[in-house]
């Protein structure tokens, strides 16, 4: 279970950093935006660590309060495994697109934007929900469904929350 949760944690941390990037995108019209995006991604990463700590605390509390902690732990492991079955392929496609983007071709870079990053960014919340549903289908316990929904809502609201670091209408 630790390995499964650790893998989810790594994916969630990357997603948090990407949320930082997304929250910062379109807010600076400079040409050299490296520092702008580095700051934003670090901010996202740290916000992700806080969210991860909250998530872990919630999971441990639910397990501790459970009348049968061992059975619940095993159910959580099954849920986590199935969530990874959805999230890992999604992350792999994105990683592949990033790899393609390193090629010095205007066409390939534009294509990754239009065919991969755009559509996948659009369906990211659906993938989040889909992964959770696919996961809890294996162990539909109330505490897992409610806990999972709360955690997913936390993670999906990260980008919007990070957007509040930028004042309304601010252009860097």
């Amino acid at each position: 279970m630790i390995l499964l949760l650790a893998t989810l944690y790594v994916l969630a941390s990357i997603d948090a950093a990407a949320s930082g990037y997304a929250a910062a995108a379109g807010r600076s019209a400079l040409i050299r935006k490296g520092p702008h995006y580095r700051r934003a991604m670090l901010r996202g990463f740290f916000a992700g660590q806080v969210t991860a700590a909250v998530s872990l605390t919630l999971i441990l509390t639910i397990v501790r309060l459970s009348p049968d902690p061992s059975a619940l732990r095993s159910d959580i492991a099954r849920v986590a495994l199935r969530m990874l079955q959805v999230y890992l392929p999604f992350a792999t496609i994105l990683a592949g697109a990033f790899a393609l983007r390193t090629l010095p071709s205007v066409d390939i870079r534009s294509l990754t934007s239009t065919l991969v990053f755009g559509p996948l960014a659009g369906i990211r919340p659906l993938v989040g929900v889909g992964g959770l549903l696919w996961g809890v289908w294996a162990a539909p316990r109330v505490e897992i469904v409610v806990g999972g929904a709360v955690l997913l809502a936390l993670w999906l609201s990260l980008e919007r929350a990070l957007g509040y670091f930028y004042r309304a209408g601010e252009v860097v």
């Binding site: 379109g26 040409i31 066409d107 534009s110 934007s113 559509p119 209408g169 252009v171």
Partner: protein, 304 residues
């Protein structure tokens, strides 16, 4: 038909004096209502006004923010690289044939000047090329100047009619601007290129295709925050001119040039690129250009 951009309607300048003309909110609303564009009506309704005249400061702030968001289109579609890929051989051809220096590269309707600032940041077009951005909108030009100063970029931006610069441009450039010229004003746009000092032009814009509206909607829906940016981004792609229309208008307006479309398809595949470019050259520079562009000449359409 929803082919009006909000940013075109909420802003007006006298073409002679470039003075700002007050825009009545009710007139803009009536225009969009007549076009049954309820989304645009909602967006305009939310804009600040004073006695039915749109607040110019609020409009300026909004448009600077929208241009900042829309710069993502230029960044993700690599407009800097696209332009440089064409400009380098054009400039090389002009150098080889002894065009007077410095060569003035004028970006028509530069907005916040992304492409010129990108070219200046790369700094590889040569010291004999002067980068000048021209736009009617003082707020956008001011923002372009501020951004160029922040990054110490060697490009200048002016509130001016690009075609009335003295001396005139050696080369005119535009990115995602030409679709704003409709009907007779498109022909007039090209007529303005005919100054003898002007040797070439490069105009890049969205390429219309069956998938362009959906692709543009998806791109803007996911990436833009401001509803105005979402609206105008999609309309731009919908109302972009086909290559045949650009060729026709430039043939009739700028008959002293030879012209060809560039980069309309992905290699040999029948997949249309999101953007296409119209290249115009004085006939005496065409051979030098074809030499300078090398293997990329396969991306050129037929010259006419």
């Amino acid at each position: 038909m929803n082919d009006l951009e909000i940013s075109d309607e909420i802003l007006a300048f006298d073409p002679e004096t470039l003075a700002r003309i007050p825009v009545r909110k009710s007139d803009v609303l009536a225009k969009f209502a007549a076009a049954s564009n309820r989304r645009a009506v909602r967006i305009v309704q939310g804009m600040a006004d004073r006695d039915d005249v749109l607040d110019p400061d609020a409009v300026d702030r909004r448009l600077v923010r929208v241009h900042c968001e829309m710069q993502r289109v230029s960044e993700e579609f690599q407009h800097g690289q696209r332009v440089a890929e064409i400009l380098r051989p054009v400039l090389e051809a002009l150098r080889r044939t002894g065009v007077p220096r410095p060569m003035r590269l004028v970006d028509v309707g530069c907005g916040t000047g992304y492409v010129l600032r990108w070219l200046a940041a790369q700094g590889d077009l040569g010291d004999d090329v002067e980068l000048i951005g021209a736009d009617y909108h003082p707020a956008l030009v001011g923002e372009a100047m501020r951004l160029a100063r922040l990054e110490d970029l060697n490009a200048s931006f002016r509130v001016v009619n690009a075609f009335r610069l003295d001396p005139p441009a050696t080369l005119y450039l535009s990115t995602c601007v030409i679709h704003h010229f409709r009907g007779a004003s498109l022909d007039q746009f090209f007529r303005c290129h005919e100054s003898p000092e002007t040797k070439a032009f490069v105009h890049i814009d969205f390429q219309p295709s069956p998938i362009a509206p959906f692709g543009s909607w998806l791109f803007h829906a996911v990436r833009m925050r401001d509803p105005l940016a979402k609206h105008d981004g999609v309309v731009s792609a919908i109302r972009a001119h086909p290559g045949s229309e650009l060729l026709r208008a430039s043939r009739e307006g700028a008959s002293g040039f030879v012209r060809a479309m560039y980069g309309t398809r992905m290699g040999f595949l029948p997949i249309p690129r999101a953007f296409h470019s119209l290249i115009g050259l004085r006939p005496e520079y065409r051979d030098a250009f074809l030499q300078a562009i090398g293997p990329r000449r396969s991306r050129l359409g037929a010259w006419e």
